[in-house]
Amino acid sequence: MADKMTGAEMVIQALTDQGVEHIFGYPGGAALPIYDAMFQQDKVQHILVRHEQGATHMAEGYARSTGKPGVVLVTSGPGATNAVTGLADALMDSIPLVCITAQVPTNLIGSDAFQECDTVGITRSCTKYNYLVKRVEDLPRIMHEAFLIATTGRPGPVVIDIPKDVQFALGDYYKPDLDTLRHQSYRPQMDGDLDAITAAVDLMMKAERPIFYTGGGVINAGPEASEHLRELAELTGFPVTSTLMGLGAFPASNPQWMGMLGMHGTYEANWAMHDCDVMINIGARFDDRITGRIDAFSPNSRKIHVDIDPSSINKVVRVDVPIIGDCARVLAEMVRIWRSKTNQPRTEAIAPWWKQIEKWRAVDSLGYKNSETTIKPQYAIERLYEATKKQGKEVFITTEVGQHQMWAAQHFHFDKPNHWMTSGGLGTMGYGLPAAVGVQVAHPDALVIDIAGEASVQMTMQELSTAVQYRLPIKIFILNNERMGMVRQWQDLLHGSRYAHSYSESLPDFVKLAEAYGGKGIRCDNPAELDAAIAEMLDYDGPVLFDVLVEKDENCLPMIPSGKPHNEIILPDTANIGDIIDEKGRALV
């Protein structure tokens, strides 16, 4: 391009060249030149949020449901600091984001100017990488490099801080070619070591009690990774469990599916993890919600660990066969090598193992005592799931954080990747509503439901206004128990039932609130009327806030209590949960 461009125009041009269609943002003094440039084009559509945290979660929902990076634009100072929670969330869950923050002019940096903050300093530890652009000549390179870094290797958020004078400055725009982009220092390893993969397959071929333990890495590696996982599971006949972040990579309707594992995972998944002889970890990171007590974690297994991030290997649990690489490529190699050795699944050799698994399954750890008078939260999710199946639409679920999130993971079933959006690593209350907005922007015709709690949803409630503005028909399904349920549950189990500040005494009238925002409000407290109310929610063409009044003191089970290994999981019919945590558990505080 021969004509000179301003820095602000370069930002828009680079976004266009990267194929960005939507950007979530909020204007402010330092960002005005970029907003001005955006106003004069129609390739990139801007979604005006109500709070910058909302913008980052929307971008996360957008990214997670499409596989494309989410893009955020905020102003300097408070705009940037408000975005920090979403950046940290995206870093923990490996979500590709590019967040453009405006900055005060370079000559004012460090002078405590109006709306100035040290954005690169503040975001250094909650981004994969960040830039302060000091010269307009660097801007085109940095814009494209940021997309490369955000989306490749282990994905993550990248911040580009652009001072206002750089936005005004004139320069030449160029589209750098990929080879000259980024340092020789940034070279994510995509292909797994062939010897290691062969060793892993050899181990799998001798396994008698194997299990696939899959995570968010399979989702991040793209839909083909899920395809290869399904193929490998079929070839081997092995059972499959997954972390919270990995739900949907393997279909819940498949008989080899064991349900989620970990603190609130199923009895069969956790027992199988404990008793297995070969564990195949694909794209998961041995998070502490999964492992429980490290020294009692799957004590007799040989462990295979596939991860694109070398620092994940041996960070928490020592493994026998580490494979560094992209899950899709490693899974494809595993399938190829397995096929080259045999056409038979290990059906006979692992028959006793499946028999054992069936015994654990028979415990029905997700069972609960239903009620005719109050709506049980589990029941509400089951009915929601049944109702959405009949819709004939793509269904995307987002959640907030807490009991409702775990119940959603247990009782809503996913058959496809990228349809489940939740804050796993950081555990950010307030994630679900804006994430649903982001998902709906990317999938205007889909059914997008935020399964929420009444406490979490109030953290980012204002984004309902965004949904109304852009006619995004998101459904917010609030399991309202008038408690911060998970906090109350921990206090119940571990702090002598002293419920310090885990309930709200003045909740809003959610129906009126929905109406005040210009959406629809529905309330239901009768199990007999629940189906009709869900149907009403699904039939309404616009945003709905559905206030489901549920059982107030239900605990989320099963649960692995602290100081306990996987095989000492608490089941729903256990009489007194407090007694199960013993002296040793107490000492672990």
Partner: protein
């Protein structure tokens, strides 16, 4: 007084570290770009690693590469993590654990100011000679010595200067390089 109200469990599983710690010297090759030192140091503080010594300077001007030499004390498991976490930083090219990879040379430079008169002055000079310390500044009542060597040699020189009128010390921190023909 609230002992009986102590929580009976924790949301996290706490374990005690049982491995012994070791002292290792790492050599880190990085792009010399703004904020790189903050990135490296921030990583250490964010993940709870301890830095014993850290030196940094541009070593390849044309390619704008800097070399950071960092001495850490950690358990073997944490040492591996430190290396991997450093390699994960986008502007980091290579990380070598010089202590683990075989023989290496470690040197430090110190400037040491000593003030005194009479017999102390003569003794100071005799010791400086023994330690091959150079005089880089002298007045009738003081010397500044430049001394290089392994950190323990500098430590002992400083402790000998202590009773002879030591005023102040400045040290560069450790620079280290592997022995033999191979580079980083």
């Amino acid at each position: 007084m609230n002992a009986h109200l102590q929580p009976t469990g924790s949301a996290y599983f706490l374990t005690k570290e049982t491995q012994e710690t070791e002292r290792h010297t790492l050599s880190v090759l990085v792009d010399n770009e703004p904020g790189i030192l903050a990135r490296v140091v921030g990583l250490f503080s964010a993940r709870g690693y301890n830095i014993e010594s850290l030196t940094v300077s541009e070593t390849e001007h044309g390619r704008r590469l800097s070399r950071i030499t960092v001495v850490v004390i950690a358990t073997p498991k944490v040492l591996v993590q430190i290396k991997l976490q450093l390699e994960r930083l986008v502007p980091v090219h290579k990380v070598h654990d010089l202590t683990a990879e075989g023989a290496s040379i470690e040197r430090e430079l110190a400037l040491i100011k000593v003030a005194g008169s009479g017999e102390h002055r003569a003794e100071t000079l005799r010791l400086a000679d023994a330690f091959r310390a150079h005089i880089v500044d002298a007045t009738v009542e003081s010397f500044v010595f430049e001394v290089t060597g392994k950190p323990d040699k500098i430590d002992s020189f400083i402790s000998l200067m202590q009773p002879l009128g030591l005023v102040e010390v400045v040290r560069t921190g450790l620079a280290a390089i592997s022995r033999g023909p191979k580079g980083m």
